[in-house]
C-alpha cells in the first residue's frame, strides 16, 4: 500500500500542482496562475471537441468490445474441438504492442489497402471508404481497431468468469428444461456479474484514457477530427510546451473517469447484489 501511494498517489498529487501554473515543462521558473488554465479550456474549441470524442469512443468501445467479447467467450466455453487454439488465437491481437497494431491497420485501412480490396473482391464496392482520411468515418475506424485488438482480452476475463460457475448449476438448469437463451439469462448472466463488472470498468476507463492507438493511427487528425483528451494532453505538453495547461486537461480527464466509473460501479454493484 505504501508503495502504491509512493508510485501513484503522491506523484499524482504533486503533478496536480502544475495545473495551476504556467510552466512550459522546461524553464526552471514558473508562475502560479490559479484557475486560468481551466477557464482557458472553456474557450478552447479543440478541448471541448476532444472531451466529446473521448466520451463517444469510450461508450462505443465499452458496448461493442464487451458484446463481442461475451459472445466469443460463450463460443469458446463449449465443447468445440478448436476451443483451445481459438482461445489463444483470438487473444493474440491483445499481445501486440498497440503502436504496431496501429501501423498495421493504417496500412490495411489505406485507400488502396487490404480492407478496401477485400470489400471490392466480394462486390461491396459501395462500402469502400477512405477509412482514416474521412473525418466522419475516422473515429469509428479507431473504435473498430480497438475492438479488434481487445475483444479477445474481454473474452479471457469472461472465460475466467464462466469457469467459476460450477457445472452442477447448468446440469440442474437443463433438467429444469430451460432453453439455451433462458439458461443464459437466468443462470449464466447473474453469475457472470463480477466478470462483467471488471470488463466494463476496464474498457470504459481504457476507452477514456485511450492514447497510443489514436496517436499512431491518425495523430488526432484529419485536423482535430479524432483528437481525444489524451492526445491533446500529449500535444500540449510535449509539442507546444504548455505543460501547465496539459496537466489541467489531465485533471479534467481524471474527474471524467472518476464520475463515469463510480456511477457505473454503483450501478453494477447494485446489480450484482440483486442478482445473487
Amino acid at each position: 500500500m505504501a508503495l502504491f501511494a509512493f508510485i501513484v498517489l503522491v506523484p499524482s498529487a504533486r503533478g496536480v500542482y502544475y495545473a495551476f501554473t504556467d510552466w512550459d515543462g522546461l524553464d526552471p521558473d514558473h508562475a502560479v496562475i490559479g484557475l486560468d488554465n481551466f477557464s482557458a479550456m472553456l474557450d478552447d474549441p479543440d478541448a471541448l471537441q476532444a472531451i466529446w470524442h473521448t466520451l463517444l469512443i469510450a461508450v462505443a468501445i465499452t458496448v461493442i468490445q464487451n458484446g463481442i467479447g461475451l459472445l466469443l467467450a460463450l463460443g469458446v466455453n463449449t465443447v468445440i474441438k478448436s476451443r483451445n487454439v481459438l482461445r489463444v488465437f483470438l487473444f493474440a491481437p491483445a499481445v501486440i504492442t498497440p503502436i504496431v497494431t496501429a501501423y498495421l491497420w493504417r496500412n490495411l485501412l489505406g485507400p488502396e489497402g487490404a480492407v478496401n480490396s477485400l470489400l471490392g473482391a466480394v462486390g461491396l464496392d459501395s462500402l469502400q471508404q477512405d477509412w482514416l482520411g474521412n473525418p466522419e468515418v475516422a473515429l469509428w475506424s479507431i473504435v473498430g481497431v480497438i475492438v479488434w485488438q481487445f475483444a479477445g482480452y474481454s473474452m479471457v476475463i469472461f472465460v475466467a468468469g464462466l469457469q467459476s460457475i460450477p457445472k452442477e448449476i447448468y446440469e440442474a438448469a437443463s433438467i429444469d428444461g430451460g432453453g439455451a437463451f433462458r439458461r443464459f439469462w437466468s443462470v449464466t448472466r447473474p453469475l457472470l456479474a463480477p466478470a462483467l463488472t471488471i470488463n466494463l470498468m476496464l474498457s470504459i476507463i481504457g476507452g477514456i484514457k485511450l492514447f497510443d492507438q489514436v496517436y499512431a493511427l491518425t495523430g488526432g487528425g484529419p485536423g482535430h477530427a479524432t483528437d481525444t483528451i489524451s492526445t491533446l494532453i500529449y500535444k500540449d505538453a510535449f509539442t507546444l510546451g504548455e505543460f501547465g495547461y496539459s496537466i489541467a486537461l489531465a485533471v479534467v480527464l481524471t474527474i471524467i473517469v472518476a464520475v463515469v466509473s463510480s456511477g457505473q460501479y454503483v450501478f453494477l454493484a447494485r446489480n450484482e447484489r440483486s442478482a445473487s
Partner: protein, 418 residues
C-alpha cells in the same frame, strides 16, 4: 492485523528485489571514458558511434535512439530533472519543443561558439544554429524540399519535369489522364501536409522579399496579407487539378513512398531524404530532386533548404571533454560523411569534400547560388503556429475549414508567441 502483516511481507520482498536489481544497474556514468547520448538519427547514429569509438579506443558511448515525438518527451523530462545525457539531438532554429532557441533560452545547452567549426558554418545555417549570437547546435546536414521524380515513370508517360507553374498544371492534367497522377501525397501524417506549401512559399514569398521573416517578427507583415495566401490557394488548385492521387488524407507517408517508388505516381513532393527510401523500395529506379515551380519565371524559383537536426552539448554534461570531442567528430569530414551518406543529406560545411549524389545536383546548385530559404517554421516564435498549420491543412483537405480562416489563425498564434 491481517493487512499489516501482508504489507510488511510486501515491503520485505520489494526491498530484496530492489537491492538485487540495483546491483546490476550501475551505469558507470561518472567514469570519464563513458559518454551518454540521446538521438533521433536512427539508422545513422549507430555508424557514427562505431566510428567514434574506433577513433578513440577505450571510449564507450551509451546511447538511446527514439522517434522525434518520443525523443522530445524524453529529453524535456530529463532536462527539467537534471538527468539529460551529455550530448543530445537539437533541432535548428525555433518552433519545435527540442529546438535550439527553446533549449538554449533556459540555459540547458553549452555554448559551442569557440569550436573551430562554428565560424565556418554558412550564413544561412548560422541563424538557426545560434541563439542570441552564440552557437549551440552542431548542425551537420542540409536538406531540401522539392519534387522528386521517378525517371522511369516519366519516360513511360512521355512527360518531362515542368519548370513553370503553367507547365506544372498541364503536366498534372496529362499525368492524371494517363492514370498515373503527378505526385504522391501522404497527408495522413500531418507533417507531410506542409511540404508542397513550403515549396510554393519559397518562390512566391521569399524570392521577392528576403526579409519577410524580419518583417513578420517586427509585426510589419502577416500571413494573410502576404503571398502566403497565394501559395495556399495554388496548393488547393494543384489538388483540384488532379496533381495528387486520390484520398491524400487516408494515405500515409509510407504509402506515398510506395506509390512514387513503383511508378503509380510520377513523383512525390518531399525532402531529399526520401530518395534513399524510394531506392530501398525500388532498387532499379532513378530518382531526381527538382524544384517545384510556383510561377512562370524559372529564374525566380527558390527551394526550401535548411539544416537538419544537429547535436548540442548539455550545459551540465558529466563528461564535457568527451562530449566536445564527440561533437567535433560529428563536424569533422569523416563524421559528417557518415551521417550525410546514411541520411542522404548534403554536408553543412562546404569543402568537406564528400561528393554529392547526382540526384541532388539541383539542390546543390540552388544552395551554391543562394537560392534556398530555411524551412519556414524554423524562424517562427512558437511551435503552435506550425502545429495549427498542419492540422489546419488537413482540415482544408477534408473541407472542415477555409484558407482564410487558417491564415488568420496562424497570424493570431504568431502574434501570441512573440
Amino acid at each position: 492485523m491481517k493487512a499489516r502483516k501482508g504489507a510488511m511481507l510486501v515491503a520485505a520482498i520489494t526491498a530484496t528485489a530492489m537491492i538485487a536489481a540495483c546491483g546490476s544497474g550501475d551505469n558507470g556514468s561518472t567514469d570519464n571514458s563513458t559518454l551518454t547520448l540521446a538521438s533521433v538519427d536512427q539508422g545513422s547514429i549507430e555508424q557514427v558511434v562505431k566510428a567514434f569509438e574506433a577513433a578513440n579506443p577505450g571510449v564507450k558511448v551509451n546511447y538511446t535512439t527514439s522517434s522525434a515525438d518520443q525523443y522530445q518527451q524524453q529529453i524535456r523530462t530529463q532536462l527539467a530533472s537534471g538527468t539529460a545525457p551529455d550530448v543530445m539531438t537539437v533541432w535548428p532554429g525555433n518552433g519545435n519543443p527540442g529546438a535550439t532557441y527553446v533549449l538554449a533560452k533556459p540555459g540547458y545547452l553549452l555554448d559551442l561558439s569557440d569550436q573551430p567549426w562554428a565560424s565556418k558554418l554558412p550564413a544561412g545555417l548560422q541563424g538557426v544554429a545560434q541563439y542570441e549570437g552564440k552557437t549551440y547546435n552542431a548542425v551537420f546536414g542540409v536538406n531540401g524540399i522539392g519534387a522528386v521524380y521517378n525517371q522511369q515513370a516519366l519516360d513511360k508517360a512521355g512527360l518531362t519535369a515542368p519548370s513553370t507553374w503553367t507547365e506544372l498544371l498541364a503536366f498534372c492534367r496529362s499525368a492524371a489522364a494517363k492514370g498515373t497522377p503527378a505526385f504522391a501525397l501522404g497527408n495522413q501524417d500531418n507533417w507531410v501536409t506542409q511540404l508542397v506549401l513550403y515549396s510554393l512559399v519559397a518562390t512566391l514569398v521569399y524570392s521577392k522579399d528576403k526579409d519577410f521573416d524580419k518583417k513578420m517578427a517586427a509585426g510589419q507583415a502577416t500571413f494573410a496579407s502576404s503571398e502566403w495566401a497565394a501559395a495556399l490557394n495554388k496548393y488547393i488548385e494543384m489538388d483540384k487539378t488532379g496533381c495528387f492521387q486520390k484520398n491524400p488524407l487516408g494515405t500515409s507517408y509510407e504509402a506515398s513512398q510506395e506509390l512514387a517508388a513503383n511508378g503509380k505516381t510520377l513523383g512525390i513532393v518531399q525532402g531529399n531524404w526520401v530518395i534513399a527510401l524510394l531506392k530501398g523500395k525500388n532498387p532499379n529506379g532513378t530518382f531526381v530532386l527538382k524544384p517545384l515551380p510556383a510561377n512562370d519565371d524559372p529564374a525566380s524559383t527558390f527551394m526550401p533548404g535548411a539544416a537538419g537536426a544537429g547535436y548540442g552539448v548539455n550545459a551540465k554534461a558529466k563528461n564535457k571533454d568527451l562530449a566536445l570531442k564527440f561533437v567535433s567528430f560529428v563536424m569533422s569530414p569523416e563524421g559528417m560523411a557518415v551521417f550525410n551518406k546514411a541520411q542522404g543529406s548534403l554536408p553543412a560545411l562546404s569543402g568537406v569534400g564528400a561528393t554529392a549524389d547526382p540526384s541532388l545536383a539541383e539542390l546543390t546548385k540552388f544552395i551554391n547560388e543562394g537560392r534556398t530559404v530555411p524551412f519556414m517554421d524554423q524562424l517562427w516564435p512558437t511551435a503552435k503556429v506550425q502545429q495549427n498549420m498542419l492540422s489546419g491543412l488537413q482540415e482544408i483537405f477534408s473541407g472542415q475549414t477555409t484558407p482564410d480562416k487558417l491564415l488568420a489563425e496562424m497570424d493570431a498564434d504568431y502574434k501570441a508567441g512573440l
